[in-house]
C-alpha cells in the first residue's frame, strides 16, 4: 500500500462526526481578563527605552555625585529632571506619533487605558528615582531630605504641568518636541534662579526653603489634573 493511500485511509477511518457547537464556542471565546498589575506589566516593554535610560542615568549620576562629594549634584539633578518629565509627556503622544492610535482604540485595551498605564508606570519610576536620589544627596552632601526632594521635584513638576497642558493644545499635538523645549526653558529658569543672590526672593534655594513644599503640592495637584484631562480626552486627541 502506498504512503498516500495509507494516509487517506487512516484519515477516513478517523473521520469524527461534526462538532455541533464549534462556531458558537469560538465566537464567544474571549482571552482571559487581565488585572491592573498584569496590564501595567504588559505595557512596560512598550515604553520608549529613552525613558528608562534617562531615569537610570540620572539615578546613577546622583548617587555617583553624592559619593564623590560633588557640591552641586542637587543642582545638576534638578536641571536634568525636566527632561525626565519631557520624556514622560512625549510618551502620552507615542501612540499617535507612530500611527498606532486607531489600532489601539480597536484592540483589547482601549487607548485610554494604555496611556493611563504608561503614565502610571513612568510616574512610579520617577517617584522611585526621587525616593532613592533625595536621601542619598541629602545624607551625603548635607541637607534635609524633604527640602532636597522638593528642589529636585519642582523642575520636574513644572515641566510636567506645562508640557501636559501644551500636549492638549493644537501646538503640542502637532509638535513632537514641545515638551523638550519646555524642559529646556524650565532647566534654564532653575539654573538662572540658582545663581541669584541669596537676598533675592526668587533665589531657588531661598524660595524652595520657604515655599517649596507648598509649591510642590500645588504643582502635584495641577499635574494630576492635567493627567486626568489627558487620559479622559486621549481618544479625542488621537
Amino acid at each position: 500500500m502506498k504512503k498516500n493511500e495509507f494516509n487517506n485511509l487512516i484519515n477516513e477511518a478517523f473521520a469524527a462526526p461534526e462538532p455541533e457547537h464549534k462556531e458558537e464556542f469560538i465566537r464567544n471565546l474571549r482571552p482571559r481578563e487581565i488585572g491592573t498589575i498584569g496590564m501595567l506589566w504588559g505595557q512596560m516593554p512598550y515604553i520608549s527605552p529613552v525613558a528608562w535610560i534617562i531615569s537610570v542615568a540620572i539615578t546613577v549620576l546622583a548617587i555617583a555625585g553624592s559619593i564623590l562629594g560633588i557640591k552641586d549634584t542637587e543642582l545638576y539633578i534638578a536641571l536634568a529632571m525636566p527632561f525626565t518629565a519631557a520624556v514622560s509627556v512625549i510618551e502620552t503622544q507615542r501612540s499617535k506619533r507612530f500611527g498606532m492610535s486607531e489600532l489601539e482604540m480597536a484592540t483589547r485595551f482601549s487607548l485610554r487605558s494604555v496611556v493611563f498605564a504608561r503614565m502610571t508606570i513612568l510616574g512610579f519610576v520617577s517617584a522611585l528615582m526621587l525616593l532613592i536620589i533625595a536621601p542619598v544627596i541629602a545624607i551625603s552632601l548635607g541637607g534635609e531630605i524633604i527640602v532636597t526632594a522638593v528642589r529636585i521635584l519642582i523642575p520636574y513638576l513644572i515641566t510636567m504641568v506645562i508640557g501636559l497642558r501644551i500636549e492638549r493644545s493644537t501646538i503640542g499635538r502637532n509638535n513632537g518636541i514641545a515638551s523638550l523645549v519646555i524642559a529646556g526653558v524650565s532647566a534654564t529658569f532653575v539654573a538662572w534662579s540658582y545663581q541669584l543672590e541669596e537676598n533675592i526672593f526668587l533665589q531657588y534655594e531661598v524660595f524652595t526653603g520657604s515655599y517649596g513644599i507648598v509649591t510642590a503640592a500645588v504643582l502635584l495637584a495641577l499635574m494630576f489634573a492635567e493627567q486626568w484631562k489627558i487620559v479622559n480626552n486621549v481618544e479625542a486627541f488621537a
Binding site: 484519515n11 478517523f14 482571559r32
Partner: protein, 148 residues
C-alpha cells in the same frame, strides 16, 4: 493559532479517546477554557499544551465512566454508504492496536502534528516517539495485511 483548525484537531483527538460526540465536545471546550485560564491567550503558546490538557481530561473522564466503543457508529455510517469497505478494514485494524498506538497514528497522520508536539503531548522523549511511531505503523500494516 487557527482556532477552528485547532478545535477540530483537539475534538477529533478527544472523540477517538472517549467515543462520544457530546463528551468529546465538552472536553474540547473545557480544554480551551483551561488553556485560556492558564496562558491568557492563544497567541504565544503552542498546541501541545492543549493536547496535554485534553489528554488529562480524557483520563479523568475515562476514570469516571468507561467510554462506549465507537465501532457501532462507524458501522452504521458504513451501512448508509458513508464509509468505504477499505475504511472499515482500517478501522477494524486500528481497533486491534493499543490505545497508545492509535493515539500516535491519529496525531501524526490525521492531525499532522510534528514530533515535538506529539512527544510533549504524550510526555515521552523524541527518540522514544520515533520508535513508537515506527512500531505502531508496522503493527497497523501487519493488521491490514491480515484483514486483506
Amino acid at each position: 493559532m487557527d482556532l477552528e483548525k485547532t478545535y477540530d484537531k483537539i475534538y477529533r483527538y478527544v472523540y477517538f479517546r472517549v467515543g462520544d460526540r457530546m463528551i468529546a465536545e465538552d472536553i474540547t471546550q473545557e480544554s480551551f477554557l483551561r488553556f485560556i485560564g492558564k496562558y491568557g491567550n492563544f497567541h504565544d503558546y503552542e498546541i501541545k499544551y492543549l493536547y496535554t490538557i485534553a489528554r488529562n481530561l480524557c483520563i479523568d473522564e475515562y476514570r469516571r465512566i468507561k467510554p462506549e466503543p465507537i465501532t457501532e457508529e462507524i458501522e452504521d455510517k458504513a451501512g448508509m454508504g458513508g464509509i468505504s469497505e477499505e475504511c472499515i478494514m482500517v478501522r477494524q485494524a486500528l481497533d486491534k492496536l493499543s490505545e497508545e498506538d492509535r493515539e500516535i497514528i491519529l496525531l501524526k497522520h490525521v492531525n499532522g502534528e510534528n514530533i515535538a508536539t506529539i512527544s510533549k503531548a504524550l510526555g515521552i522523549s523524541r527518540f522514544a516517539l520515533y520508535r513508537k511511531i515506527k512500531n505502531a505503523e508496522d503493527r497497523l500494516r501487519n493488521e491490514l495485511e491480515v484483514e486483506e
